[in-house]
Symmetry: C2
Subunit: 146 residues, 2 copies
DNA sequence: TTGCTCCTCACGTCACGTGAGGTGGC
DNA sequence: TTGCTCCTCACGTCACGTGAGGTGGC
C-alpha cells in the first residue's frame, strides 16, 4: 500500500501482482520485452512498481487483443521511445518539442483505441447473435407451455 | 451462393471460408474437435457447410474469448450432445423432452453469454482508460496552444 | 543457521507453420 | 495427360510449463 519510489520487488511478488509467473517474466526479459536491469549473473532480479505496471499492460493487451509478443513489442516500442524523449525534452520546456511528443502520444493512443474498438465490435456482434438465439429458445418454451 | 445440402467442400475451400488453413483443420480433426468423416486412408477429406459453420464458431470463440482448444472442446461437447438429443427427441414430439432440450440450450447460451460479457466489460474498461488518456493529452495540447 | 525464494539449464507442451516427397480428382 | 490441390510424415516455432540441481538473502 505504501508507494515508495525505490521499492524493490522480487520476481515472485511481481508475478503475483500481475497474474503471471516468474517464468513468464524471465521469458519476456529473454526476448527483450522487458528491461534487463543490471545485476550480476546468478543474482536475484529486482523490479519497481513501474516494471509491474508495464507487465500488467503487456498481459492485458496480450489477453484482450490476442496480439503476439512480436506485435506487442512493436506497439510498446514506440511508447518506450516516446517516454524516453519525454523525459529528455520535458526539461527543455520547449513548447514545440512538447507538442511533437503529445502528437506522438495521441497517435499511439489512437492505434490502441482502434484495436480495442475493433474487438469490441466483434464481441458485440457475437453478443447480439447469442441474445437472438436466447430469444428464439425462450419463445419456443412459451409456445410449449401454451 | 447456392445452398445445396449435400454440397461437398474441399479442405482448402473450407479453410478460405473460415479464415484458417488446411493444417489447422487437420489438427482440429487430429485432437477430436472435428468429426473425422469416413474416408479411405490417403483419400481427400470432404466437408459440408455445417462443418464450415462449426469451424467458424470454434475460430471465433478461440479468438474473441482466448479459450484453449481443450476448453473449447468442453464448451462445444455439450452443444454437440444436445444437437444429437435434439434430432432424436424432435421426432417423438414429446413436449416434456422438448422443454428439457430447450432448457439445456438456454443454459449453454447463458454460459457463452457470461464469457462474452466478461470480456466486453474488460474491453470497455480498457477503452475508458484509453479515452481518459486521450482527453488528458488533448487538454495539454490546448494548454500549450493558449 | 534454517527455510524460502531465487537462479540457470534444459526438456516438454500446445497450436499450429513449413517443407519433403508422393498420390488423387476435375 | 497436365496442373492443381490434396495426402502423410516429421521437424520447427512461439509462449511459456515443469522439474533438476544449485545458490542467495531476510
Amino acid at each position: 500500500m505504501s508507494v515508495v519510489a525505490d521499492e524493490r520487488l522480487r520476481i515472485g511478488e511481481v508475478a503475483e501482482l500481475t497474474g503471471t509467473t516468474p517464468r513468464t517474466i524471465r521469458y519476456y526479459e529473454e526476448i527483450g520485452l522487458l528491461r534487463c536491469g543490471e545485476r550480476a549473473q546468478g543474482k536475484h532480479r529486482f523490479y519497481t512498481q513501474a516494471d509491474a505496471d508495464r507487465i500488467n499492460e503487456i498481459v492485458r493487451l496480450r489477453n484482450l487483443l490476442g496480439l503476439s509478443l512480436e506485435q506487442l513489442s512493436q506497439l510498446l516500442e514506440a511508447e518506450t521511445a516516446r517516454a524516453e524523449l519525454r523525459r529528455e525534452y520535458r526539461e527543455t520546456e520547449d513548447p514545440a518539442a512538447q507538442r511533437e511528443i503529445l502528437g506522438q502520444l495521441l497517435g499511439h493512443i489512437g492505434t490502441q483505441l482502434e484495436l480495442v474498438r475493433g474487438r469490441l465490435a466483434e464481441l458485440r456482434q457475437l453478443e447480439r447473435e447469442l441474445v437472438q438465439k436466447q430469444r428464439r429458445a425462450r419463445s419456443r418454451v412459451r409456445e410449449l407451455n401454451a
